[in-house]
């Protein structure tokens, strides 16, 4: 798990996204326990309040849940939830910045589609 301390993105959000990535990649399976906030805080050298905030975002979204006295677990259906959430972000941010950049470079929508298709053919 890597955090970018130079990034504009707050550390707790980066942390939440890193855990989501691990769920998507299958490093953390549903109903399995994830690394504790204590370990996160010490290993990443971040304030425990920051680590706690990152984890609680995912708890509030139903992606993680807390077993009292045991630790944090990946909720059932978490992977699908993360997938949907990321798709929305992909659409709202990624595609938007793609379109903005294209506008700057005078690339039309058709050209963009052509580019994507050409890439597809290569792979």
């Amino acid at each position: 798990m890597q955090l970018d301390f130079n990034s504009e993105k707050p550390i707790y959000i980066q942390l939440a996204e890193a855990i989501e990535d691990d769920i998507l990649k299958g490093i953390y399976k549903e109903e399995s326990q994830i690394i504790s906030t204590t370990e996160l805080s010490i290993n990443l050298k971040i304030n425990p309040a920051t680590a706690g905030k990152g984890v609680s975002i995912l708890v509030n979204e139903g992606i993680l849940y807390k077993k009292r006295g045991v630790g944090m677990f990946v909720a059932k259906g978490a992977k699908e939830k993360v997938l949907q959430k990321r798709k929305k972000i992909f659409c709202d941010h990624f595609i938007l910045s793609l379109l903005n950049e294209a506008k700057k470079l005078n690339i039309s929508k058709n050209e963009i589609i052509n580019m994507i298709e050409r890439r597809d053919n290569f792979e």
């Binding site: 130079n6 504009e8 050298k45 971040i46």
Partner: protein
């Protein structure tokens, strides 16, 4: 209730005002960074909190009790400082036992474990220790003292990168196991910024900023782009730093509220980046 209350504290040495009417609350069980340039008044403030110096005016309360000649309260505060006031003929293991006479809940086993971790030979004489190991020795005493408040003045002085890394991790694990109020005064700001919960910046004897790191990182940002567009953005805005590179300008902005004008930033085609704590510090204390 707040753990340490500092009320209108002033310290003068003749005509020199080292600390100028400072009022400050340091809350319980948080990790604070006390930042300031050399001679800003950090050490004076820590000395006054621990009654090692007497204020010209003002008072310090810990848990509601005045610290003035109050051993009961001060026994719960461990102040790790730069000067070596320990009997120099002592060996490390003797020093640990000696400190335990004052800090009776000091955990000797934990202290030995940390000596081991940092490679500090407990048979070494205090006076023979290098700057780095002298600092490490004092850090270990602070971390194992079990005091509710630990004040660390330059806790990484002379430490190499490996030892600093080890120390930051130890501070965190110690704090998580047994939450306490920790104040870290350091010049190595970037390294420590993510372990802090709050930052206090002191300049010329005055507190010029006190905020949580999280809020500060939202309020502060850097904007860069073509000079005229940058100028358009900062019109009627307070900024704390400006750098020029040809037709290009970069400004550091610290907003009063958390709001930034994202729409205008996009319209002007400006780039936003993070304003690291060190950058803010340099701009604010110049």
């Amino acid at each position: 209730m707040s753990k340490i209350e500092i009320k209108s504290l002033t310290k003068q040495y003749g005509d020199v005002v080292a600390l100028d009417n400072v009022s400050l609350d340091i809350e319980r069980n948080k990790i604070y960074g006390l930042l300031g340039r050399n001679g800003a008044g950090k050490t004076t403030l820590l000395n006054l909190i621990t009654n090692k110096l007497f204020p010209t005016a003002g008072e310090v309360f810990i848990d509601g009790e005045n610290v003035k000649e109050n051993d009961k309260v001060l026994n719960n505060v461990f102040y790790m400082f730069e000067d070596n006031l320990y009997p120099e003929g002592l060996r490390v293991k003797e020093l640990i036992r000696w400190v335990k006479l004052f800090y009776t809940s000091l955990d000797v086993d934990y202290a030995k474990e940390l000596c081991d971790k940092f490679g500090l030979n407990t048979h070494s004489k205090i006076k023979s220790l290098s700057t780095g190991y002298s600092t490490i020795c004092k850090d270990i005493l602070a971390l194992t003292s079990n005091a509710e408040v630990i004040l660390l003045d330059e806790p990484v002085l002379g430490l190499d990168a490996n030892h600093r890394d080890l120390l930051y991790k130890e501070i965190l694990s110690n704090y998580i196991k047994q939450p306490k109020t920790i104040v870290i005064s350091t010049h190595l700001i970037e390294e420590v910024s993510e372990i802090l919960e709050e930052v206090i910046i002191i300049k010329e004897g005055k507190i010029i900023l006190k905020d949580t790191v999280e809020d500060l990182m939202t309020r502060a940002y850097m904007i860069s782009g073509e000079a005229s567009k940058v100028q358009q953005y900062i019109k009627n805005k307070k900024y704390i730093g400006l750098e020029k590179m040809g037709k290009y300008q970069q400004v550091t902005i610290l907003e009063e509220s958390k709001k930034r004008n994202t729409q205008l930033i996009n319209e002007l085609d400006l780039e936003v980046s993070k304003a690291p704590l060190q950058k803010l510090f340099i701009n604010l204390t110049n």
